[in-house]
Protein backbone atom coordinates (compact mmCIF):
# COMPACT_ATOMS: atom_id res chain seq x y z
CA UNK A 1 0.00 0.00 0.00
CA UNK A 2 2.68 2.44 1.03
CA UNK A 3 4.72 1.78 -2.07
CA UNK A 4 1.67 2.05 -4.25
CA UNK A 5 1.07 5.43 -2.68
CA UNK A 6 4.59 6.50 -3.60
CA UNK A 7 3.77 5.97 -7.26
CA UNK A 8 0.61 7.99 -6.88
CA UNK A 9 2.37 10.87 -5.18
CA UNK A 10 5.00 10.83 -7.92
CA UNK A 11 2.31 10.91 -10.63
CA UNK A 12 0.57 13.88 -9.00
CA UNK A 13 3.89 15.68 -8.52
CA UNK A 14 4.89 15.22 -12.17
CA UNK A 15 1.49 16.44 -13.34
CA UNK A 16 1.52 19.49 -11.08
CA UNK A 17 5.07 20.49 -12.02
CA UNK A 18 4.27 20.07 -15.72
CA UNK A 19 1.14 22.20 -15.51
CA UNK A 20 2.88 24.94 -13.53
CA UNK A 21 5.91 25.07 -15.82
CA UNK A 22 4.05 25.41 -19.14
CA UNK A 23 4.26 29.25 -19.18
CA UNK A 24 8.04 28.90 -19.50
CA UNK A 25 7.62 27.22 -22.88
CA UNK A 26 4.54 28.72 -24.53
CA UNK A 27 3.29 32.17 -25.42
CA UNK A 28 0.00 33.70 -24.31
CA UNK A 29 -1.98 32.43 -27.28
CA UNK A 30 -1.11 28.83 -26.51
CA UNK A 31 -1.51 29.32 -22.79
CA UNK A 32 -5.08 30.49 -23.41
CA UNK A 33 -5.78 27.26 -25.26
CA UNK A 34 -4.00 25.24 -22.59
CA UNK A 35 -6.11 26.79 -19.85
CA UNK A 36 -9.25 25.59 -21.64
CA UNK A 37 -7.81 22.07 -21.68
CA UNK A 38 -7.17 22.35 -17.95
CA UNK A 39 -10.81 23.30 -17.48
CA UNK A 40 -11.76 20.14 -19.38
CA UNK A 41 -9.43 18.32 -17.00
CA UNK A 42 -11.54 19.57 -14.10
CA UNK A 43 -14.61 18.11 -15.78
CA UNK A 44 -12.73 14.81 -16.01
CA UNK A 45 -12.18 14.94 -12.25
CA UNK A 46 -15.88 15.67 -11.68
CA UNK A 47 -16.95 12.71 -13.82
CA UNK A 48 -14.43 10.37 -12.23
CA UNK A 49 -15.63 11.29 -8.74
CA UNK A 50 -19.27 10.83 -9.66
CA UNK A 51 -18.98 7.81 -11.95
CA UNK A 52 -15.83 5.99 -10.86
CA UNK A 53 -16.07 6.51 -7.12
CA UNK A 54 -19.78 7.01 -6.49
CA UNK A 55 -21.09 4.79 -9.29
CA UNK A 56 -23.44 7.48 -10.61
CA UNK A 57 -23.23 7.85 -14.40
CA UNK A 58 -24.40 11.39 -15.02
CA UNK A 59 -25.01 12.00 -18.73
CA UNK A 60 -25.98 15.59 -18.05
CA UNK A 61 -22.89 16.99 -16.37
CA UNK A 62 -23.10 19.85 -18.88
CA UNK A 63 -26.08 21.15 -16.92
CA UNK A 64 -23.82 22.03 -13.98
CA UNK A 65 -21.04 23.28 -16.26
CA UNK A 66 -23.52 25.46 -18.13
CA UNK A 67 -25.14 26.76 -14.95
CA UNK A 68 -21.74 27.82 -13.63
CA UNK A 69 -20.82 29.40 -16.96
CA UNK A 70 -24.06 31.40 -17.27
CA UNK A 71 -23.86 32.68 -13.70
CA UNK A 72 -20.43 34.23 -14.12
CA UNK A 73 -21.18 35.05 -17.77
CA UNK A 74 -24.04 37.33 -16.66
CA UNK A 75 -21.68 39.27 -14.41
CA UNK A 76 -19.02 39.55 -17.09
CA UNK A 77 -21.62 40.62 -19.65
CA UNK A 78 -22.60 43.53 -17.44
CA UNK A 79 -18.90 44.39 -17.04
CA UNK A 80 -18.48 44.54 -20.83
CA UNK A 81 -18.18 47.93 -22.59
CA UNK A 82 -20.98 46.80 -24.94
CA UNK A 83 -23.40 46.96 -22.03
CA UNK A 84 -22.74 50.63 -21.44
CA UNK A 85 -23.34 51.91 -24.97
CA UNK A 86 -27.05 52.64 -24.61
CA UNK A 87 -26.48 56.00 -22.95
CA UNK A 88 -28.88 55.42 -20.05
CA UNK A 89 -28.26 54.62 -16.40
CA UNK A 90 -26.16 51.58 -15.52
CA UNK A 91 -25.24 48.59 -17.67
CA UNK A 92 -27.75 46.86 -19.95
CA UNK A 93 -26.76 43.84 -22.08
CA UNK A 94 -26.78 44.71 -25.79
CA UNK A 95 -29.03 41.80 -26.76
CA UNK A 96 -31.70 43.11 -24.41
CA UNK A 97 -31.58 46.46 -26.20
CA UNK A 98 -31.98 44.79 -29.57
CA UNK A 99 -34.96 42.83 -28.37
CA UNK A 100 -36.54 45.61 -26.32
CA UNK A 101 -40.05 46.72 -27.08
CA UNK A 102 -40.37 50.28 -28.37
CA UNK A 103 -40.51 52.77 -25.55
CA UNK A 104 -39.20 50.38 -22.92
CA UNK A 105 -37.12 52.00 -20.21
CA UNK A 106 -33.45 51.24 -20.98
CA UNK A 107 -32.53 50.22 -17.49
CA UNK A 108 -31.61 46.80 -16.17
CA UNK A 109 -34.50 46.84 -13.70
CA UNK A 110 -37.25 47.04 -16.26
CA UNK A 111 -36.18 46.81 -19.88
CA UNK A 112 -38.15 43.57 -20.03
CA UNK A 113 -40.27 41.63 -17.60
CA UNK A 114 -37.46 39.44 -16.25
CA UNK A 115 -34.43 41.67 -16.55
CA UNK A 116 -34.49 42.58 -12.84
CA UNK A 117 -33.04 39.08 -12.25
CA UNK A 118 -29.80 40.44 -13.65
CA UNK A 119 -29.53 43.24 -11.07
CA UNK A 120 -27.43 41.39 -8.43
CA UNK A 121 -25.03 40.22 -11.16
CA UNK A 122 -23.60 43.73 -11.33
CA UNK A 123 -21.41 42.40 -8.54
CA UNK A 124 -18.87 39.94 -9.90
CA UNK A 125 -18.55 38.38 -6.46
CA UNK A 126 -22.25 37.47 -6.71
CA UNK A 127 -21.69 35.90 -10.13
CA UNK A 128 -18.72 33.92 -8.84
CA UNK A 129 -20.59 32.63 -5.80
CA UNK A 130 -23.69 31.77 -7.80
CA UNK A 131 -21.53 29.86 -10.33
CA UNK A 132 -20.87 27.34 -7.56
CA UNK A 133 -24.09 27.69 -5.53
CA UNK A 134 -26.56 27.23 -8.39
CA UNK A 135 -25.06 23.94 -9.69
CA UNK A 136 -24.86 22.60 -6.13
CA UNK A 137 -28.44 23.64 -5.45
CA UNK A 138 -29.64 21.98 -8.66
CA UNK A 139 -27.66 18.84 -7.81
CA UNK A 140 -29.05 18.81 -4.29
CA UNK A 141 -32.66 19.05 -5.44
CA UNK A 142 -32.18 16.49 -8.22
CA UNK A 143 -30.12 14.16 -6.01
CA UNK A 144 -32.53 14.34 -3.09
CA UNK A 145 -35.34 13.25 -5.35
CA UNK A 146 -33.68 10.47 -7.36
CA UNK A 147 -31.57 8.93 -4.59
CA UNK A 148 -34.34 9.06 -1.95
CA UNK A 149 -36.68 7.45 -4.44
CA UNK A 150 -34.12 4.70 -4.95
CA UNK A 151 -33.62 5.43 -8.64
CA UNK A 152 -30.41 3.73 -9.70
CA UNK A 153 -28.16 2.73 -12.56
CA UNK A 154 -29.21 3.51 -16.09
CA UNK A 155 -32.34 5.38 -14.99
CA UNK A 156 -30.20 8.08 -13.37
CA UNK A 157 -28.37 8.45 -16.68
CA UNK A 158 -31.66 8.78 -18.56
CA UNK A 159 -33.06 11.35 -16.14
CA UNK A 160 -29.91 13.49 -16.17
CA UNK A 161 -29.71 13.24 -19.95
CA UNK A 162 -33.30 14.39 -20.36
CA UNK A 163 -32.85 17.17 -17.84
CA UNK A 164 -29.85 18.78 -19.54
CA UNK A 165 -31.78 18.81 -22.83
CA UNK A 166 -34.80 20.34 -21.13
CA UNK A 167 -32.77 23.10 -19.48
CA UNK A 168 -30.98 23.82 -22.75
CA UNK A 169 -34.36 24.24 -24.41
CA UNK A 170 -35.54 26.62 -21.68
CA UNK A 171 -32.36 28.70 -21.90
CA UNK A 172 -32.65 29.02 -25.67
CA UNK A 173 -36.33 29.85 -25.37
CA UNK A 174 -35.86 32.60 -22.79
CA UNK A 175 -34.01 34.74 -25.29
CA UNK A 176 -34.81 38.05 -23.66
CA UNK A 177 -33.01 36.93 -20.51
CA UNK A 178 -30.29 34.60 -21.75
CA UNK A 179 -29.40 35.73 -25.23
CA UNK A 180 -31.00 32.59 -26.64
CA UNK A 181 -29.04 30.67 -29.28
CA UNK A 182 -26.31 33.28 -29.36
CA UNK A 183 -25.57 32.92 -25.66
CA UNK A 184 -23.56 35.70 -24.05
CA UNK A 185 -20.76 37.18 -26.13
CA UNK A 186 -18.42 40.18 -25.91
CA UNK A 187 -17.85 39.58 -22.22
CA UNK A 188 -15.75 41.79 -19.97
CA UNK A 189 -12.81 40.50 -17.98
CA UNK A 190 -12.99 38.99 -14.55
CA UNK A 191 -11.83 41.50 -11.97
CA UNK A 192 -10.90 39.92 -8.69
CA UNK A 193 -9.13 41.55 -5.78
CA UNK A 194 -8.42 44.61 -7.92
CA UNK A 195 -6.73 42.50 -10.62
CA UNK A 196 -8.11 42.15 -14.16
CA UNK A 197 -7.74 38.70 -15.66
CA UNK A 198 -6.88 39.19 -19.34
CA UNK A 199 -7.80 35.84 -20.95
CA UNK A 200 -4.54 35.96 -22.90
CA UNK A 201 -2.24 36.35 -19.95
CA UNK A 202 -0.03 34.19 -17.80
CA UNK A 203 -2.09 35.18 -14.76
CA UNK A 204 -5.27 33.70 -16.21
CA UNK A 205 -3.42 30.52 -17.09
CA UNK A 206 -2.23 30.24 -13.50
CA UNK A 207 -5.76 30.90 -12.28
CA UNK A 208 -6.93 27.85 -14.23
CA UNK A 209 -3.85 25.79 -13.31
CA UNK A 210 -4.03 26.46 -9.58
CA UNK A 211 -7.80 25.88 -9.60
CA UNK A 212 -7.33 22.50 -11.25
CA UNK A 213 -4.52 21.49 -8.90
CA UNK A 214 -6.50 22.47 -5.82
CA UNK A 215 -9.56 20.66 -7.15
CA UNK A 216 -7.50 17.52 -7.75
CA UNK A 217 -5.94 17.58 -4.31
CA UNK A 218 -9.15 18.32 -2.41
CA UNK A 219 -11.02 15.63 -4.35
CA UNK A 220 -8.17 13.20 -3.67
CA UNK A 221 -8.45 13.93 0.07
CA UNK A 222 -12.20 13.42 -0.15
CA UNK A 223 -12.00 9.98 -1.77
CA UNK A 224 -9.30 9.00 0.72
CA UNK A 225 -11.46 10.03 3.66
CA UNK A 226 -13.79 7.74 5.59
CA UNK A 227 -16.73 9.12 3.61
CA UNK A 228 -14.87 8.33 0.39
CA UNK A 229 -14.44 4.74 1.46
CA UNK A 230 -18.11 4.44 2.44
CA UNK A 231 -19.09 5.93 -0.93
CA UNK A 232 -17.05 3.27 -2.76
CA UNK A 233 -18.73 0.67 -0.57
CA UNK A 234 -22.16 2.00 -1.55
CA UNK A 235 -21.08 1.85 -5.21
CA UNK A 236 -20.13 -1.83 -4.81
CA UNK A 237 -23.16 -2.91 -2.80
CA UNK A 238 -25.71 -0.32 -1.80
CA UNK A 239 -27.75 -2.71 0.33
CA UNK A 240 -24.77 -3.93 2.33
CA UNK A 241 -23.95 -0.33 3.21
CA UNK A 242 -27.55 0.41 4.19
CA UNK A 243 -27.67 -2.60 6.51
CA UNK A 244 -24.46 -1.39 8.14
CA UNK A 245 -26.37 1.79 9.04
CA UNK A 246 -25.22 4.14 6.28
CA UNK A 247 -27.80 6.40 4.65
CA UNK A 248 -26.84 5.62 1.05
CA UNK A 249 -28.98 8.41 -0.42
CA UNK A 250 -27.28 11.04 1.74
CA UNK A 251 -23.84 9.90 0.58
CA UNK A 252 -24.90 9.79 -3.06
CA UNK A 253 -26.48 13.24 -2.87
CA UNK A 254 -23.37 14.65 -1.20
CA UNK A 255 -20.95 13.31 -3.81
CA UNK A 256 -23.33 14.32 -6.60
CA UNK A 257 -23.26 17.88 -5.21
CA UNK A 258 -19.46 17.93 -4.94
CA UNK A 259 -19.23 16.78 -8.55
CA UNK A 260 -21.67 19.55 -9.52
CA UNK A 261 -19.61 22.13 -7.63
CA UNK A 262 -16.47 21.11 -9.53
CA UNK A 263 -18.37 21.31 -12.83
CA UNK A 264 -19.76 24.75 -11.97
CA UNK A 265 -16.26 25.90 -11.03
CA UNK A 266 -15.00 24.58 -14.38
CA UNK A 267 -17.84 26.44 -16.10
CA UNK A 268 -16.91 29.76 -14.56
CA UNK A 269 -13.22 29.29 -15.42
CA UNK A 270 -14.13 28.44 -18.99
CA UNK A 271 -15.98 31.74 -19.29
CA UNK A 272 -12.99 33.64 -17.93
CA UNK A 273 -10.67 32.10 -20.52
CA UNK A 274 -12.99 31.94 -23.55
CA UNK A 275 -15.04 35.15 -23.10
CA UNK A 276 -18.33 33.66 -24.16
CA UNK A 277 -21.19 31.52 -22.85
CA UNK A 278 -23.28 29.39 -25.16
CA UNK A 279 -26.22 27.04 -24.82
CA UNK A 280 -24.01 24.49 -26.62
CA UNK A 281 -22.41 23.94 -23.19
CA UNK A 282 -25.60 22.04 -22.46
CA UNK A 283 -25.58 20.06 -25.70
CA UNK A 284 -25.96 16.36 -25.21
CA UNK A 285 -22.81 15.72 -27.26
CA UNK A 286 -20.72 17.78 -24.86
CA UNK A 287 -21.97 15.93 -21.77
CA UNK A 288 -21.32 12.59 -23.46
CA UNK A 289 -17.85 13.75 -24.51
CA UNK A 290 -17.00 14.35 -20.85
CA UNK A 291 -17.91 10.78 -20.03
CA UNK A 292 -15.74 9.57 -22.91
CA UNK A 293 -12.76 11.61 -21.68
CA UNK A 294 -13.10 10.03 -18.25
CA UNK A 295 -13.50 6.54 -19.72
CA UNK A 296 -10.37 6.94 -21.83
CA UNK A 297 -8.34 8.35 -18.95
CA UNK A 298 -9.72 5.86 -16.45
CA UNK A 299 -12.82 6.64 -14.47
CA UNK A 300 -11.43 4.88 -11.41
CA UNK A 301 -8.60 7.39 -11.22
CA UNK A 302 -9.09 11.11 -10.63
CA UNK A 303 -5.76 12.04 -12.20
CA UNK A 304 -6.30 9.55 -15.02
CA UNK A 305 -9.68 11.04 -15.97
CA UNK A 306 -8.21 14.53 -15.73
CA UNK A 307 -5.31 13.66 -18.04
CA UNK A 308 -7.68 11.76 -20.33
CA UNK A 309 -9.77 14.89 -20.79
CA UNK A 310 -6.69 16.98 -21.54
CA UNK A 311 -5.12 14.45 -23.92
CA UNK A 312 -8.26 13.90 -25.98
CA UNK A 313 -8.83 17.62 -26.38
CA UNK A 314 -5.23 18.29 -27.35
CA UNK A 315 -5.41 15.37 -29.75
CA UNK A 316 -8.72 16.56 -31.19
CA UNK A 317 -7.45 20.11 -31.64
CA UNK A 318 -4.19 18.97 -33.25
CA UNK A 319 -5.79 16.54 -35.65
CA UNK A 320 -8.61 18.85 -36.64
CA UNK A 321 -6.08 21.52 -37.63
CA UNK A 322 -4.01 19.35 -39.95
CA UNK A 323 -5.30 19.61 -43.53
CA UNK A 324 -5.34 15.87 -44.11
CA UNK A 325 -7.74 15.14 -41.30
CA UNK A 326 -9.85 18.26 -41.32
CA UNK A 327 -12.92 16.27 -42.37
CA UNK A 328 -12.26 13.03 -40.55
CA UNK A 329 -10.79 14.03 -37.19
CA UNK A 330 -13.94 13.20 -35.23
CA UNK A 331 -13.92 9.70 -36.66
CA UNK A 332 -10.30 9.34 -35.61
CA UNK A 333 -11.00 10.46 -32.05
CA UNK A 334 -13.98 8.09 -32.04
CA UNK A 335 -11.80 5.22 -33.20
CA UNK A 336 -9.29 6.06 -30.48
CA UNK A 337 -12.10 5.83 -27.93
CA UNK A 338 -13.28 2.46 -29.22
CA UNK A 339 -9.74 1.07 -29.09
CA UNK A 340 -9.19 2.28 -25.55
CA UNK A 341 -12.46 0.83 -24.31
CA UNK A 342 -11.78 -2.50 -26.04
CA UNK A 343 -8.21 -2.95 -24.91
CA UNK A 344 -7.99 -0.90 -21.73
CA UNK A 345 -11.21 -1.33 -19.75
CA UNK A 346 -9.79 0.79 -16.92
CA UNK A 347 -8.50 3.43 -19.30
CA UNK A 348 -4.99 4.78 -19.51
CA UNK A 349 -4.78 4.92 -15.72
CA UNK A 350 -5.52 1.20 -15.56
CA UNK A 351 -2.53 0.48 -17.80
CA UNK A 352 -0.24 2.66 -15.70
CA UNK A 353 -1.53 0.98 -12.51
CA UNK A 354 -0.60 -2.35 -14.07
CA UNK A 355 2.96 -1.19 -14.82
CA UNK A 356 3.40 0.13 -11.30
CA UNK A 357 2.15 -3.10 -9.78
CA UNK A 358 4.96 -5.00 -11.49
CA UNK A 359 7.45 -2.89 -9.62
CA UNK A 360 5.76 -3.15 -6.23
CA UNK A 361 4.72 -6.75 -5.88
CA UNK A 362 7.02 -9.63 -6.53
CA UNK A 363 4.60 -12.39 -7.52
CA UNK A 364 4.28 -15.03 -4.80
CA UNK A 365 1.85 -17.86 -4.15
CA UNK A 366 0.11 -16.14 -1.28
CA UNK A 367 -0.38 -12.89 -3.14
CA UNK A 368 -2.99 -13.09 -5.85
CA UNK A 369 -4.98 -9.99 -4.95
CA UNK A 370 -5.11 -6.68 -6.73
CA UNK A 371 -4.68 -3.15 -5.55
CA UNK A 372 -7.52 -0.72 -5.09
CA UNK A 373 -7.75 1.78 -7.85
Amino acid sequence: MLKHNHFRIAAYAIFIVTVLSLPAFFDEFWLNRASKYLVYGMLGVAISLCWGYAGILNLGQGLFFGAGAYMLGMSLKLASPTSLQHGGEGPVPDFMLRNAEPGALTELCCINSGSYLWLPFQSQAFGLIMAIVLPVLLAFILGSIIFRKGVSGVFISIITLALVLLVRLLVVDAQALTGGFNGLTDLGWLTFGGYEFDPYSVATYYLAAVSLILTLLVTRLLVNSRAGLVMQGIRDDENRAKYLGFDAAAYQTFFFCVSAAISGFAGLLYVVTSEFVSPTFMDLAFSISMVIWAAVGGRGSLLGACIGAIVINVLGATISESEVFVESWQAIVGLFFVLVVLFMPNGMAGVVHGWCRRFITKPSKSDIGGQPQ
Binding site: A227, D237, A241, K242, L244, G245
Partner: protein, 251 residues
Protein backbone atom coordinates in the same frame (compact mmCIF):
# COMPACT_ATOMS: atom_id res chain seq x y z
CA UNK B 1 -35.07 0.40 29.35
CA UNK B 2 -33.69 -0.49 25.95
CA UNK B 3 -30.14 -0.17 27.24
CA UNK B 4 -30.23 -3.34 29.27
CA UNK B 5 -33.06 -5.18 27.60
CA UNK B 6 -32.84 -5.86 23.93
CA UNK B 7 -34.90 -8.88 23.21
CA UNK B 8 -36.53 -9.05 19.83
CA UNK B 9 -40.32 -9.08 19.80
CA UNK B 10 -42.24 -9.82 16.65
CA UNK B 11 -45.94 -9.19 17.22
CA UNK B 12 -48.40 -10.52 14.68
CA UNK B 13 -46.55 -9.35 11.57
CA UNK B 14 -47.59 -10.23 8.08
CA UNK B 15 -47.01 -9.11 4.54
CA UNK B 16 -49.16 -9.28 1.49
CA UNK B 17 -47.37 -9.10 -1.85
CA UNK B 18 -50.25 -7.86 -4.00
CA UNK B 19 -52.52 -10.76 -3.15
CA UNK B 20 -49.97 -13.33 -2.03
CA UNK B 21 -49.79 -13.62 1.76
CA UNK B 22 -46.11 -14.53 2.25
CA UNK B 23 -46.25 -14.24 6.04
CA UNK B 24 -49.35 -13.86 8.18
CA UNK B 25 -49.93 -13.05 11.84
CA UNK B 26 -46.53 -14.32 12.93
CA UNK B 27 -45.33 -13.73 16.49
CA UNK B 28 -42.24 -14.68 18.45
CA UNK B 29 -40.08 -13.37 21.26
CA UNK B 30 -36.34 -13.96 21.19
CA UNK B 31 -34.76 -13.31 24.59
CA UNK B 32 -31.66 -11.21 24.98
CA UNK B 33 -28.54 -13.26 24.19
CA UNK B 34 -30.57 -16.16 22.83
CA UNK B 35 -29.67 -18.04 19.67
CA UNK B 36 -32.86 -18.82 17.77
CA UNK B 37 -33.03 -20.90 14.60
CA UNK B 38 -35.88 -20.53 12.11
CA UNK B 39 -36.80 -23.72 10.30
CA UNK B 40 -39.22 -24.34 7.51
CA UNK B 41 -39.48 -25.57 3.94
CA UNK B 42 -38.73 -23.33 0.98
CA UNK B 43 -41.38 -20.64 0.77
CA UNK B 44 -42.27 -20.90 4.47
CA UNK B 45 -41.52 -17.18 4.83
CA UNK B 46 -38.26 -17.29 6.82
CA UNK B 47 -36.32 -14.88 4.63
CA UNK B 48 -39.36 -12.64 4.21
CA UNK B 49 -39.66 -12.46 8.01
CA UNK B 50 -36.01 -11.38 8.25
CA UNK B 51 -36.59 -8.84 5.49
CA UNK B 52 -39.39 -7.31 7.54
CA UNK B 53 -37.28 -7.18 10.71
CA UNK B 54 -34.40 -5.37 9.00
CA UNK B 55 -36.60 -3.05 6.92
CA UNK B 56 -35.99 -4.53 3.49
CA UNK B 57 -39.65 -5.44 3.13
CA UNK B 58 -42.47 -3.28 4.48
CA UNK B 59 -44.85 -5.33 6.60
CA UNK B 60 -48.56 -4.82 6.06
CA UNK B 61 -49.63 -5.87 9.55
CA UNK B 62 -48.18 -6.23 13.03
CA UNK B 63 -45.31 -4.58 14.88
CA UNK B 64 -41.67 -5.32 15.66
CA UNK B 65 -39.72 -4.18 18.74
CA UNK B 66 -36.16 -4.24 20.05
CA UNK B 67 -36.75 -4.05 23.80
CA UNK B 68 -39.21 -1.15 24.10
CA UNK B 69 -38.25 0.52 20.83
CA UNK B 70 -40.49 -0.02 17.86
CA UNK B 71 -38.66 -0.54 14.55
CA UNK B 72 -41.59 -1.51 12.32
CA UNK B 73 -41.15 -0.34 8.71
CA UNK B 74 -38.40 2.17 9.43
CA UNK B 75 -35.80 2.74 6.67
CA UNK B 76 -33.09 0.02 6.61
CA UNK B 77 -30.23 2.28 7.69
CA UNK B 78 -32.27 3.55 10.63
CA UNK B 79 -33.06 0.01 11.77
CA UNK B 80 -29.38 -0.88 11.36
CA UNK B 81 -28.41 2.05 13.57
CA UNK B 82 -30.97 0.95 16.15
CA UNK B 83 -29.09 -2.32 16.44
CA UNK B 84 -30.09 -4.85 13.82
CA UNK B 85 -27.35 -6.47 11.73
CA UNK B 86 -28.14 -8.65 8.76
CA UNK B 87 -26.18 -11.31 6.93
CA UNK B 88 -27.63 -12.11 3.54
CA UNK B 89 -28.19 -15.49 1.94
CA UNK B 90 -26.05 -14.50 -1.04
CA UNK B 91 -22.90 -13.17 0.61
CA UNK B 92 -22.85 -9.44 0.24
CA UNK B 93 -19.58 -7.54 0.71
CA UNK B 94 -17.85 -4.62 -1.02
CA UNK B 95 -16.13 -6.51 -3.84
CA UNK B 96 -13.86 -3.77 -5.15
CA UNK B 97 -12.54 -2.89 -1.70
CA UNK B 98 -9.87 -4.84 0.17
CA UNK B 99 -10.72 -7.00 3.17
CA UNK B 100 -9.33 -4.33 5.47
CA UNK B 101 -11.33 -1.60 3.74
CA UNK B 102 -14.50 -3.68 4.04
CA UNK B 103 -14.00 -4.02 7.77
CA UNK B 104 -13.04 -0.33 8.07
CA UNK B 105 -16.42 0.68 6.67
CA UNK B 106 -18.15 -1.35 9.38
CA UNK B 107 -15.77 -0.04 12.06
CA UNK B 108 -16.66 3.63 11.62
CA UNK B 109 -17.88 5.22 14.83
CA UNK B 110 -20.31 7.52 13.05
CA UNK B 111 -22.42 6.89 9.96
CA UNK B 112 -23.20 10.40 8.70
CA UNK B 113 -21.43 11.93 5.67
CA UNK B 114 -20.26 15.10 7.34
CA UNK B 115 -18.85 13.29 10.35
CA UNK B 116 -16.73 11.16 8.03
CA UNK B 117 -14.87 13.75 5.99
CA UNK B 118 -11.68 13.13 7.97
CA UNK B 119 -8.84 10.67 7.71
CA UNK B 120 -9.30 6.91 7.76
CA UNK B 121 -6.86 6.67 10.61
CA UNK B 122 -9.21 8.37 13.04
CA UNK B 123 -12.67 7.79 14.52
CA UNK B 124 -12.60 4.15 13.64
CA UNK B 125 -12.53 1.10 15.94
CA UNK B 126 -9.06 -0.11 14.96
CA UNK B 127 -8.70 -2.53 17.89
CA UNK B 128 -11.94 -4.26 16.93
CA UNK B 129 -10.81 -4.44 13.33
CA UNK B 130 -7.65 -6.38 14.24
CA UNK B 131 -9.53 -8.68 16.65
CA UNK B 132 -12.11 -9.45 13.99
CA UNK B 133 -9.51 -10.25 11.35
CA UNK B 134 -8.19 -12.90 13.74
CA UNK B 135 -11.65 -14.24 14.49
CA UNK B 136 -12.63 -14.64 10.84
CA UNK B 137 -9.25 -16.05 9.86
CA UNK B 138 -8.44 -13.52 7.16
CA UNK B 139 -5.30 -11.91 8.61
CA UNK B 140 -3.26 -13.12 5.67
CA UNK B 141 -5.63 -11.63 3.11
CA UNK B 142 -6.16 -8.12 4.48
CA UNK B 143 -4.92 -6.35 1.35
CA UNK B 144 -6.74 -8.60 -1.13
CA UNK B 145 -9.88 -7.41 -2.88
CA UNK B 146 -13.01 -8.94 -1.40
CA UNK B 147 -14.06 -9.92 -4.92
CA UNK B 148 -11.08 -12.32 -5.07
CA UNK B 149 -12.03 -14.25 -1.90
CA UNK B 150 -13.42 -17.78 -2.02
CA UNK B 151 -17.10 -18.36 -1.23
CA UNK B 152 -16.38 -19.42 2.36
CA UNK B 153 -14.03 -16.51 2.97
CA UNK B 154 -16.63 -14.08 1.61
CA UNK B 155 -19.18 -15.46 4.09
CA UNK B 156 -16.73 -14.99 6.96
CA UNK B 157 -15.92 -11.48 5.83
CA UNK B 158 -19.61 -10.65 5.93
CA UNK B 159 -19.88 -12.17 9.40
CA UNK B 160 -16.83 -10.08 10.31
CA UNK B 161 -18.68 -6.92 9.25
CA UNK B 162 -21.43 -7.84 11.70
CA UNK B 163 -18.98 -8.66 14.49
CA UNK B 164 -17.44 -5.18 14.19
CA UNK B 165 -20.82 -3.51 13.87
CA UNK B 166 -21.68 -5.16 17.19
CA UNK B 167 -25.47 -4.93 16.81
CA UNK B 168 -27.92 -5.94 19.52
CA UNK B 169 -29.65 -8.29 17.15
CA UNK B 170 -28.04 -10.33 14.39
CA UNK B 171 -30.03 -11.91 11.57
CA UNK B 172 -28.20 -14.71 9.78
CA UNK B 173 -29.66 -16.03 6.56
CA UNK B 174 -28.12 -19.45 5.86
CA UNK B 175 -24.61 -18.70 7.07
CA UNK B 176 -23.30 -22.10 5.95
CA UNK B 177 -24.99 -22.34 2.55
CA UNK B 178 -22.63 -23.76 -0.06
CA UNK B 179 -19.84 -24.47 2.42
CA UNK B 180 -17.65 -27.56 2.77
CA UNK B 181 -17.81 -29.49 6.08
CA UNK B 182 -14.54 -27.91 7.09
CA UNK B 183 -15.76 -24.41 6.35
CA UNK B 184 -19.03 -25.11 8.19
CA UNK B 185 -17.03 -26.06 11.26
CA UNK B 186 -15.10 -22.79 11.16
CA UNK B 187 -18.34 -20.90 10.68
CA UNK B 188 -19.90 -22.50 13.74
CA UNK B 189 -16.86 -21.35 15.69
CA UNK B 190 -17.46 -17.77 14.59
CA UNK B 191 -21.19 -17.96 15.31
CA UNK B 192 -20.57 -19.55 18.71
CA UNK B 193 -18.29 -16.65 19.51
CA UNK B 194 -21.18 -14.26 18.81
CA UNK B 195 -23.55 -16.25 21.03
CA UNK B 196 -24.45 -14.73 24.35
CA UNK B 197 -23.21 -11.26 23.39
CA UNK B 198 -25.92 -10.76 20.79
CA UNK B 199 -29.50 -11.83 20.27
CA UNK B 200 -29.30 -14.00 17.16
CA UNK B 201 -31.92 -15.25 14.73
CA UNK B 202 -30.65 -17.66 12.07
CA UNK B 203 -32.21 -19.43 9.11
CA UNK B 204 -30.38 -22.68 8.54
CA UNK B 205 -31.02 -26.03 6.87
CA UNK B 206 -27.92 -27.89 7.96
CA UNK B 207 -29.24 -29.84 10.98
CA UNK B 208 -25.74 -30.72 12.24
CA UNK B 209 -25.01 -27.01 12.34
CA UNK B 210 -28.37 -26.29 13.99
CA UNK B 211 -27.66 -28.82 16.76
CA UNK B 212 -24.30 -27.19 17.24
CA UNK B 213 -25.56 -23.65 17.73
CA UNK B 214 -29.32 -23.43 18.47
CA UNK B 215 -30.89 -22.72 21.84
CA UNK B 216 -34.46 -22.83 20.63
CA UNK B 217 -36.11 -23.47 17.29
CA UNK B 218 -39.12 -21.83 15.71
CA UNK B 219 -40.74 -23.69 12.84
CA UNK B 220 -42.61 -21.80 10.12
CA UNK B 221 -44.98 -23.32 7.64
CA UNK B 222 -46.65 -21.49 4.74
CA UNK B 223 -46.04 -18.12 6.30
CA UNK B 224 -47.44 -19.07 9.69
CA UNK B 225 -46.10 -20.03 13.09
CA UNK B 226 -46.08 -23.82 13.46
CA UNK B 227 -44.06 -24.82 16.52
CA UNK B 228 -41.42 -23.62 18.93
CA UNK B 229 -39.16 -25.38 21.41
CA UNK B 230 -35.85 -27.10 22.07
CA UNK B 231 -34.51 -29.27 19.32
CA UNK B 232 -35.67 -32.52 20.99
CA UNK B 233 -39.24 -31.24 21.34
CA UNK B 234 -39.35 -30.13 17.74
CA UNK B 235 -38.15 -33.48 16.44
CA UNK B 236 -40.96 -35.19 18.37
CA UNK B 237 -43.67 -32.66 17.50
CA UNK B 238 -46.63 -34.14 15.65
CA UNK B 239 -47.49 -30.84 13.96
CA UNK B 240 -44.01 -30.58 12.49
CA UNK B 241 -44.10 -34.17 11.30
CA UNK B 242 -47.45 -33.53 9.63
CA UNK B 243 -46.15 -30.42 7.88
CA UNK B 244 -43.18 -32.33 6.57
CA UNK B 245 -45.37 -35.29 5.62
CA UNK B 246 -43.51 -37.93 3.69
CA UNK B 247 -40.10 -36.55 4.40
CA UNK B 248 -40.00 -38.28 7.77
CA UNK B 249 -39.57 -35.17 9.91
CA UNK B 250 -36.94 -32.49 9.78
CA UNK B 251 -33.87 -34.61 10.53
Amino acid sequence: MTENNYNLMVDGVGVNFSGFQAVSNFSMVVEQGEMRVLLGANGAGKTTLMDMICGKTQSTEGRIFIGDTEITNKPPHTIARMGVGRKFQIPSVFKELTVRQNLSVAAMKNTSVFANLGSLKRRIHLDKLEETLELINLTRRTEDLAGNLSHGETQWLELGLLVILNPKIILLDEPTAGMTADETLKTSRIVNDLKGRHTIVAVEHDMAFVREIADKITVMHQGKFLAEGRIGDIEKSQAVKDAYLGSGGIA
